[in-house]
């Protein structure tokens, strides 16, 4: 028993140490910095204050926070509604690897290239406008980019594989004969899906939800590149506080909020996974 314990520690220690030093300590520094006073030229002064948290209630920030929440909810909802049928169709398909490859290839392609592709399509001299102009359908360029809709479209585009992959994995493990059993017992197709399929793949849905909502909530590049002045999100505020305004405590306070939110999400995923295992719904 003792030997076993030692071996486990020997195997896991290198990674445990690495993540402690380069992940836990940096996050802890953020927690500490959020309670410190802002330094004159960036950095902090070692003096306890709650000023950073008070500054968060600045109406300008609250507005961005509210917008971020709204954009995240809408984009996540669209993503999940599209991803669920996709995961279902892929799991039932005979050509799973083929569909997986089709999802993974754009997913692995550099995200900046993918955002850039949308700029090339939507911008005032972009693909759509040039096409419509040359066909004579419109006389002047439409403004399709640098607004909220463009941000939501691109966020859905970037994050949809994150939702499809866990949904596919869970639905693939689902025993489809249960649906047939439900039908035999008189359930309609819709009823069978809502009462049998969806509850059984709950943990996959929660994973997909967290894995899309949190990255969208902390999005930085997409609102920066395809958003306008009125589509700034909290990620942009944090970066500006670090690189431009040099208010590290405020950036830390915002980061801490998102970290706490993510931690809750992780706990939710873990708990729902354990509940499902206990119920015996999934393998």
């Amino acid at each position: 028993m003792k030997r076993e314990r030692q071996l486990g520690i020997i195997y896991s220690a290198p990674m445990g140490l690495w993540l402690t030093i380069f992940f836990l300590i940096p996050i802890s520094i953020i927690v500490i910095y959020s309670f410190l006073k802002k330094g004159l030229y960036g950095g902090v002064e070692w003096q306890f204050t709650l000023k950073a948290y008070q500054e968060m209630f600045n109406p300008a920030f609250l507005k961005v926070l509210w917008r971020t929440l709204w954009v995240s909810v809408v984009a996540t909802a669209i993503t999940l509604l599209l991803a669920l049928p996709c995961g279902y169709a892929m799991a039932r398909s005979r050509h799973q690897i083929f569909w997986l490859a089709l999802i993974i290839v754009p997913f692995w392609t550099n995200s900046l290239i993918r955002i850039y592709a949308w700029i090339a399509i939507l911008s005032s001299e972009g693909f759509i406008n040039e096409l419509l102009l040359s066909l004579g359908i419109i006389k002047e360029s439409l403004s399709l980019i640098y607004n909220q809709q463009a941000v939501i479209t691109v966020l859905v585009y970037i994050n949809i594989p994150f939702a499809i992959l866990p949904l596919f994995t869970t639905i693939d493990k689902f025993d489809f004969q249960l649906l047939e059993a439900a039908r035999d017992l008189g359930a309609t197709k819709r009823k069978a899906i809502f009462k049998v399929l969806l509850p059984s793949i709950r943990s996959g849905i929660i994973t997909a939800l967290i894995f899309t909502f949190i990255p969208i909530f902390g999005a930085y590049t997409t609102p920066l590149l395809v958003g306008g002045k009125d589509s700034y999100m909290i990620g942009n505020i944090i970066v500006d506080q670090v690189t431009k305004t040099r208010n590290w405590p405020l950036a830390s306070a915002f980061s801490l909020i998102i970290t706490l939110l993510s931690t809750l999400g992780v706990i939710w995923i873990l708990v729902s996974g354990m509940q499902d295992k206990a119920k015996g719904v999934v393998k």
């Binding site: 896991s12 993540l19 992940f23 799973q96 993974i104 992959l165 994995t169 894995f211 670090v242």
Partner: protein, 293 residues
């Protein structure tokens, strides 16, 4: 009929007596199969895949455009000429990205798979600590990881550059390696290790002669995934990069910041083709990769 027909398992939802299972065949053909090819979910899947590829197709098509903008003026390969022969900085950035991807994925694969072995097969005190700490970096937004690392590096006075990028990439790659290798170890029969030990193998021998050869595919696919994630990362790198350590995504960012750049169009085709080759080579592992991302 699908090629693998799931076995009917006893679950809490339906409980048929065992002897009926073999005899009773549910009328499955009529229920969910008849409209399958053009069913709602298949249509959504095809539309989503078109949605995923459409922007890439547009950009790649216009990489063969003779003029700079998005108005088609004729076929030309000039942007490819520019990309391959007149973009020294871009290839310099690519080399940086490549060096970081290889080093960080090797380190992450070694540390991550050792930890997976420790967590899967042994019980010890700090086990759950390691499990939680390796899960969080996967869900935390990149901005937060990037900023916390920037603040950390400046607090401990590590200069920003290739080394700090390497550290950051190894950190965000570790959890994915751990997950992928753990998934493989789930299928691994521990009694093989016991057999090896009974036959007199030391711990190190059983590791190098038994465990590593049999989980080699998982090691390979997690390294591959680590390489692609490292090559892909922009946000975290953006914070921890210093002068002279521009990576490919950072360079692309500087090119697209102010609009359409035909050289980036040409680069897109090269990158998409590269990813396609990788995905095809490793198609056997795509399902494991899907399960861990």
């Amino acid at each position: 009929m699908s090629k693998k027909r799931p076995k009917l398992k006893p679950t809490t939802l339906v409980e048929l007596p065992k002897e009926t299972v073999g005899v009773y065949r549910p009328p499955r053909q009529q229920v969910f199969r008849d409209h399958r090819r053009f069913g709602f979910s298949n249509i959504v899947l095809v539309l989503v895949i078109l949605f995923l590829f459409m922007p890439l197709f547009v950009v790649i098509t216009y990489s063969f455009n003779a003029s700079k903008g998005m108005r088609w003026t004729g076929f030309s390969l000039q942007w490819y000429y520019k990309l391959f022969f007149e973009s020294r900085q871009l290839w310099r950035a690519f080399l940086n990205s490549f060096i970081i991807a290889i080093t960080s994925s090797v380190v992450a694969t070694i540390l991550g798979s050792l930890a997976a072995i420790g967590i899967k097969w042994y019980r010890f005190k700090s086990r759950s600590y390691i499990q939680v700490i390796s899960f969080l970096p996967m869900v935390l937004p990149e901005v937060i990881i990037g900023i916390s690392m920037l603040i950390f590096f400046s607090a401990v006075k590590i200069p920003l550059g290739m080394f700090s990028i390497f550290v950051a990439h190894t950190t965000f790659n570790l959890p994915f390696v751990l997950l992928l290798v753990s998934a493989r170890l789930d299928e691994f029969d521990f009694s093989i290790i016991e057999a090896a030990r009974d036959l007199g193998a030391t711990e190190r021998q059983s590791l190098t002669k038994v465990v590593i050869p049999s989980i080699a595919p998982a090691l390979l696919s997690s390294m591959l995934m680590a390489i692609t994630m490292s090559l892909e990362d922009f946000v975290i790198t953006f914070f921890v990069a210093g002068p002279g350590s521009t990576t490919l995504p950072l360079y692309v960012y500087s090119m697209i910041r102010y609009g359409v750049s035909p050289v980036v169009n040409a680069l897109s085709l090269v990158l998409v083709l590269g990813i396609m080759v990788i995905a095809l080579t490793f198609r056997r592992f795509l399902k494991t990769i899907a399960a861990s991302s």
